[in-house]
Symmetry: C2
């Protein structure tokens, strides 16, 4: 047995002195041949290890470099240095693994996020990414806890799918056929019977349709898995591979759906406020520093922590799409022609419009409902006005759309006529329509982009910095 | 707001009478124009709804058919019928969605698992699959709770990967190139620069290598995500798409690894024993019925619940591979030539060997360690004997291998020489080797096949029956 260590977080949290502990971790810095700042990833706060004069020979001292791993046994004692209440006075120290100070890419200085993206395999060892990925972990756990407490069933919907009916975007093909020498039919088209699944298959863009099948039996289900878009979008807001949470609830109308989504987002933020105080304090400070380098006009009005508390403490604004368009048309921004894209009823609102609504007009998260049917998917419930559907998007400051959802069309005849109008293959979707044939019920659901939520909570502006290894056009490293 | 219902599980669990409730769900049966067995998926136990004479007109009564969805408001009263302590006396009843009794595929009778696999979109509505997928949910939640309680960071390792170094099996290709008309280089090979990621990419077979990168910063991480094998294995034990849990721990040796894996499996089983008593009782009964149809010699010695309690209450057996081979060579089965495959030191044990060890010899889960290096992956730590590596497999009764893991080779020179010997491209794996260059530490990890664990706990013999929508050769429905 090797693992007799105590985690640094528990030593610092307990603040209990007088006991002997073994700690293991990586050296962040080593000052005056005496003070090791040691980190084991359990917290951003380093443990100060004091190496008494004469404990280690010169050779060992030379090997205590930034990035090296060490095992220390010693006594927890009160610290007289600032920044920590306790430290460890070493009784023994052992080098586990060296780190050549000249070659180690993570020097003890500030690196740019761009540089750290290039060495994503090492960036977890920095304070910023330590905090970001511990927060990401907490958010993921809070997702599961939220739904588990409410009796939702976690459903693993399939990743490889033959269905392309959702129409949510470009898809990646999945195949075992040899590229450029796949067998063909007489008409020259690919003979997919020879492919692994005997048909053409893709990576899923959403688990919703399969999720609905689960909701028609368990009432309340959710998915939490990877989804994919083969879109050539090289932006700070898009990934080719990202994680999504999609709850689906039988016996819910649009209002129930809004209530759950708002409760959910607040729950996630509250969970992190309670469980990641150190990480959020660090990220709050980091963002404040970053803001200083921006021109006054572009700075956020609120700091990170302030923003999170504000979201938790206030109701989300709820407006219809029609009201949203009216607000935009009445806005000074519109009158001064500051919007790049056209504003009129029927448009798919652009990022600039959404940001105006949340950041300038309401200054809080906004739920927009009842969108024109022409810009929304076939499965959304048709409203009485014959123009709009019972869709809802939640827009968040600094992020834009963070949730998209709707009440689903539960009436078989209306669903089929919409599918036909939108050229969705009705016959292939017979399994989906069975939920409307046998015991159909009002139901609703939404999708939360997990990385956007992590961005919102951590204040990271580039989505590539909140997923361990980003997949984007021309980029699939590690 | 539509969702003012009370879930059936909470009504039955509370057993509180005298209050008015609204319930919504699907009709399982309707007897004597009076008694509805209503299910909303929160539990296998149906709520008996009594429809008083005269409450509903004939037309409504005719529409209360198996599969139809209804909304009932009524009073919770003591039940005189057997099987439940309370029932609901309806004050109002509303049909939400009809179900044509003649066309509904799920008749109120026993269907074969094979038939239900064909209608996987409806099988969630049966008792068997209701229980299986609520247990699956609980196991997934217990996974997250176990690691969260121990300070592990949940790391979402990538699904699309350009790395094929693991060598764990055949991979699915991921591409946006047109099949059969992909651009080519001068030598006729595919020009992957034109592909979405600018290189050849696949679906991951394991998140371990990326997980190790996380462990070298956070100490303890785990993954829980989908993994893929493009193997043409049409068996009851293989899926092309399945979910895997892979914890990776810095400062762990093989013994620490074994301890954690055993603790983990027991934790999962205990969690389900405590939280899914009704579902397990149903599955226990179901399995007992199924066993009756088998010849005496093939029946399991223990029932499902008995087996689960036995696993929780007893230590796993721990033996070396060499000891395992000796046991097999000494066995009556070997002497009577009952094994189909050869037994000698150096073999990759077959299912029949593993099952002999756990089911006949030890009659409990067995951890086998120190396998011959020739049959194990390049990253496993080389033992002093120069013949074996610090691998561990956990074998479970009825399932075979449920966990595979190892201490990892943390010594850079030994790792590189092993990689060269096994033709793993060292240069491409430079990011992985960086963990050994900069602060390398002893570390270990394992993978648990989630579906195999669900099989073990539910007693389902076909792996296709424990995942919502199975992906297998020539099969990718829904």
């Amino acid at each position: 047995m090797f693992n007799n260590r105590t985690k640094i977080k528990s030593i610092l949290d307990a603040g209990e002195t007088g006991r002997e502990v073994t700690v293991m971790g990586w050296v962040r810095t080593f000052r005056n041949n005496q003070f090791i700042a040691l980190n084991d990833g359990s917290t951003n706060n380093n443990l100060q290890v004091v190496v008494p004069l004469g404990l280690a020979d010169d050779d060992t001292l030379k090997r205590i470099t930034t990035g090296a791993s060490v095992k220390v046994t010693g006594e927890v004692v009160p610290s007289i240095g600032k920044g920590q209440s306790v430290e460890v006075k070493a009784n023994s120290i052992e080098i586990l693994g060296d780190s050549d100070a000249e070659k180690y890419p993570l020097q003890p200085k500030k690196h740019s996020l761009e540089f750290l993206r290039e060495i994503a395999h090492l960036r977890f060892r920095t304070n910023t990414f330590g905090a970001v990925f511990r927060v990401r972990h907490s958010l993921a756990f809070a997702v599961h806890q939220f739904f588990n407490e409410r009796g939702f069933v976690y459903l693993h919907t399939p990743i490889i799918t033959a269905s392309d009916a959702e129409g949510a975007g470009e898809m990646f093909k999945v195949t075992t056929l040899p590229l450029n020498s796949a067998p063909t039919l007489e008409d020259g088209s690919i003979d997919f019977k020879e492919d692994f699944f005997g048909k053409s298959t893709n990576l899923t863009v959403s688990g919703q349709l399969e999720g609905e099948l689960g909701a028609m039996a368990f009432s309340d289900i959710y998915t939490f898995g990877p989804t994919f878009r083969a879109e050539n979008s090289n932006t700070t807001r898009h990934l080719a591979e990202f994680w999504m949470i999609e709850p689906e609830m039988a016996f819910y109308d649009l209002e129930d759906n809004m209530n759950l989504a708002e409760e959910f987002i607040k729950y996630l933020i509250n969970y992190v406020l309670q469980n990641n105080a150190d990480d959020l304090a660090f990220l709050d400070q980091r963002l404040a520093e970053e803001e200083k380098s921006k021109p006054q006009a572009e700075r956020n009005e609120m700091g990170l922590l302030e923003k999170l508390r504000f979201v938790v403490d206030n109701n989300f604004e709820r407006i219809t799409y029609t009201e949203a368009i009216d607000i935009l048309l009445q806005s000074p921004a519109y009158k001064k022609k500051k919007f790049k894209y056209e504003v009129k009823w029927g448009i798919d609102m652009q990022s600039e419009h959404e940001r105006y609504l949340v950041e300038k007009h309401f200054k809080k998260p906004v739920i927009v409902i009842n969108y024109p049917e022409g810009i929304k998917a076939f499965y959304m419930r048709q409203n009485e006005d014959s123009k709009t559907v019972a869709a809802m998007d939640i827009l968040a400051p600094g992020i834009g759309e963070i949730v998209g959802g709707s009440q689903r069309e539960e009436r078989l005849d209306k669903l089929i006529s919409r599918m036909e109008k939108m050229h969705v293959p009705v016959a292939e979707m017979s399994w989906y329509l069975d939920t409307r044939r046998f015991g159909s019920v009002p139901h609703a659901g939404f999708g939360l982009g997990f990385e956007r939520m992590v961005q919102f909570v951590t204040g990271m502006t580039n989505i590539r910095d909140v997923i361990p290894f980003a997949r984007t056009p021309q980029n699939c490293e590690f």
